[in-house]
Symmetry: C2
Subunit: 535 residues, 2 copies
């Protein structure tokens, strides 16, 4: 079997081959609606890939975006000004969100504090979607812009439906759509397009594995219903209003979402639990992963100085400006006791008690470090970009989830034995130290992560090439109608065959009634006939 062990990485050669020739100036015309923040990192990778294949890319951005630059060698942009700006593009929006959340967690769930946080969260959510719908209104009301978009004759609209601006604009322009997606307005993307049995598919916001106890299944259904209610009363009304004003009567916002041609899902089943899917969902999880490059000299020297002990990386992602200093000081104290070297991507106030072994940096070449043989563990918040990179390079994880899907993400590695997860508000220097030491010294963490890595890398084609292939597929065929069901257009009782079951039960009832009735009358007549004889 040793001949089968030759797979150590994706086959990168395919990307040029599948179009039968090198990309040229004859490429297509693509309109892109990205999401700000870390999602942009992902979308930008696709943009670079599409640009390299000779396509002309136009990005629609908010004029005040701090992440999506107005000009780039890879795309031209259209900037939309939303009065008051977009919350999602404000860096302190998530920082203040995080601080409020940590406060709640630290104080324990006092009902009043919980209700206050929850209502703050819902109003923030509503605000974000209000701004997104305003973004669409600004576009629709700009007749010159809409005409120029029509004149540009785009082949496809590629969008991140976390905020569904692009869905509405694409439908207005009558263009096929491709989603670069994990999250939609109401939660995880699969839930509106594929059957999702609540008995083994964890819902968004509920950190559980696919093997649930009865109590967890109750929790799963409960959170699912809660998500539905939030969507119904907090999110959808913004888009329903818009659809009512700008589209034909009878148009349903959800049907626009469900009617997309192709879902490029940022999911890999090495990471996600197995669940039902659909023919128009293409999995591109880990499409950001690539081999590491050599480190800058200074950093390489620091890494090498760790000797046999190796290096620990720590990063809490792009959105968070820094944890409270009480927490970071506990972490720093723990790091100071380790023989390893530590590279900590840190912003904000410097922690107290920082050890000589710990290097604070504003930015680090994360992928290149994760691929370095000296790196032994990764302390991470659990954003998917970092997790897929860690998985790709086989580096085990200490998870410090802070926000959103991060809790579910690190759980997925934890149940596979590849991560140790801590509650950030409950860590002391001692508990943090023990967790890091466990991941460093118990070989099962690395073995598990390396197993995930070998499964993840073993694909006929790199997921980025897969993504590019399918975007171009939709462009070549002007959609992908044959891959997508329109069953979502049925009323829910028909979709679930409740009307048919009712009808069949009614027929059964009538048949039984007729049979019983006939027997009854037959008996009655026989009895009558017999009675005179007896008399």
């Amino acid at each position: 079997m040793s001949g089968l062990n030759g797979v150590t990485g994706f086959v990168l050669a395919v990307s040029v081959a599948f179009l039968g020739g090198p990309p040229g100036a004859l490429g297509g015309n693509i309109l892109i609606f990205p999401l700000d923040g870390s999602h942009w990192v992902n979308m930008n990778l696709l943009i670079e890939g599409l640009h390299a294949r000779g396509h002309q890319v136009t990005v629609v951005r908010s004029a005040s975006s701090w992440y999506i630059k107005e000009s780039s060698p890879h795309y031209r942009s259209i900037s939309i000004t939303v009065p008051g700006g977009m919350d999602i593009e404000k860096q302190d929006f998530f920082a203040s969100f995080l601080l409020k959340m940590l406060e709640i967690q630290r104080e324990g769930a006092s009902p009043l504090a919980f209700v206050s946080f929850y209502s703050y969260m819902l109003s923030a959510l509503s605000g974000m979607h209000q701004q997104a719908s305003q973004f669409v209104v600004e576009m629709f009301e700009n007749k010159a812009l809409m005409q120029s978009l029509r004149d540009s004759q785009y082949d496809v609209v590629l969008l991140d439906p976390g905020l569904p601006v692009g869905v509405l604009v694409a439908h207005k322009l009558g263009l096929p759509t491709v989603f670069n997606v994990r999250w939609i307005t109401s939660g995880e993307g699969h839930f509106v397009v594929a059957p999702s049995p609540m008995s083994y598919v964890p819902t968004a916001g509920y950190a559980t594995s696919d093997k649930m106890t009865f109590g967890q299944r109750v929790g799963n259904v409960f959170i699912y219903l809660l998500n539905m209610i939030i969507d119904m009363f907090v999110i959808s009304p913004h888009y329903d209003r818009l659809v009512k004003n700008y589209f034909e009567p009878g148009t349903n916002f959800y049907h626009l979402l469900q009617g997309t041609d192709l879902w490029l899902m940022r999911v890999d089943f090495v990471f996600e639990f197995p669940r039902p899917t659909m023919p128009n969902i293409v999995y591109i999880g880990g499409f950001q992963c690539k081999p590491s490059k050599p480190l800058p000299t200074e950093l390489e020297e620091f890494v090498q100085s760790s000797g046999e002990h190796g290096v620990i990386l720590m990063s809490l992602g792009t959105l968070v400006k820094g944890l409270p200093v009480e927490i970071t000081s506990e972490i720093a104290a723990a790091f100071a006791q380790l023989p390893q070297k530590v590279i900590w991507r840190h912003m904000g106030k410097q922690p107290i008690g920082l050890g000589n072994n710990t290097l604070l940096v504003n930015w680090m070449p994360q992928n290149d470090l994760l691929g370095h043989p000296k790196v032994k563990a990764f302390v991470a918040h659990g954003g998917t970009n970092g997790l897929y990179e860690a998985m790709y390079h086989g580096v085990p994880l200490v998870g410090l989830p802070l926000l959103f899907d991060q809790f579910e993400n690190v759980l997925r590695l934890e149940v596979r034995g590849a991560a140790k997860v801590l509650e950030v508000t409950k860590i002391s220097s001692q508990s943090f130290l023990e967790a890091v030491q466990e991941v460093l010294h118990n070989p099962s963490y690395r073995t598990s992560m390396e197993r995930l890595s070998s499964l993840h890398r073993d694909k006929p084609m790199h997921p980025l090439d897969t993504a590019l292939f399918w975007i171009e597929f939709v462009m070549r065929h002007k959609g992908a109608a044959h891959l997508r069901t329109e069953s979502y257009k049925m009323p829910w009782y028909s979709y679930h065959s409740l009307d048919v079951i009712g009808f069949l039960l009614a027929v059964l009832f009538v048949l039984v009634a007729i049979t019983v009735g006939s027997i009854y009358f037959l008996c009655l007549r026989l009895c009558r006939k017999r009675k005179p004889k007896q008399e």
Copy 2:
């Protein structure tokens, strides 16, 4: 967009690339359980591919098989003798089945004839599965054979689960399994592994599209229930008995089937209607398709002699020895009136009134003919091998379905405008002539088939290479547990969350009862307090 039109065929180069090197003598060890008849054609293609990649292949066959040869340059074989042989390998079994079926169709559905045919069919079905379970018993009782299979240390068992012999043997040997599958014992394979909403997923044996009227949905559920009942009382008992005798207590035959690592599904969504699927289903529909080769000189001359009118092909597949001469003579008479040349693969009694333009042959290079530019239409029974080849080459179809899934298959091309379907017992030379002329002269048939062809060919990788990649994937990783849910092990009421819904309703009921009760008692007390005052 012209740069995007370069895709005219699969990328065949990938197959060598994905293992990072050419196949060598270090390949794996593969045990194969094929199905006899046309299914063998498919399996043999995989065997040739696996052999070419340096794997050692062992085929388990019935000693009396007429199709699966004992010796081959591509595999070694193990022959099992089943007392009385296997019906499925007897050529006249299907011929007599067909004649009985045609009789029924021609006479109209007289209830007595229908019941008699149905009971004949059920007894034939039961017999087939009885023989298959006997096949397994013969293997299990042969201790020397079982020991030698254990000693051979196979990496994977590849099997066609139409008869699930291999499922049981693989489980006994504790080996990972890969299915080469469209049909399982109880119907279409998807139905036991993926959610299949009856509102838009046509069940096996019911020729309807995915857009059904209420009546069709009732029919769909009804046929589904009928299939379930047949499976429960006619098919499964054979295997349940076997599992009870040879496996640990509590082993469930269906769980063995559902627990397979990977389903290589002989389906492409250009052909099949979109429906839910699972991460461990890999689609390889059309894996038998390949570019056509030049024809033998004599045949090429005949084809060229058709001039501008072109050629019509006709074949009713490998299982059927020939239609009754009354029917074939109607067809021959119709062909005789056409200016086209006809190549008719025909076995059995020669039809009356054969035209000079019609060439009867025992065998024809079907794929090479379908790829010939002179071939204008294909008259076919609707076996999937032929349909995929026609689709691959873009040749429109006149469908003459005879048996089994052929009715559903041709319907799938009919609803896409690529085929005209006839009822074989109702054709006259006139109706047949009109159908052929319509397909020849109405360009929409060819346009539709060419559209399907371009969609079908537009894949990042040839489906045969996909199949080989995933078989080797299972070998490399000793299974594919991360792609497969074990939710089938839950009780049905838990799988469908009925227990959770019941619990939540009970909680709701208690809450409402407490609230109403409290209000009632409150009112009662208030009323009592008031009354004395009033008095």
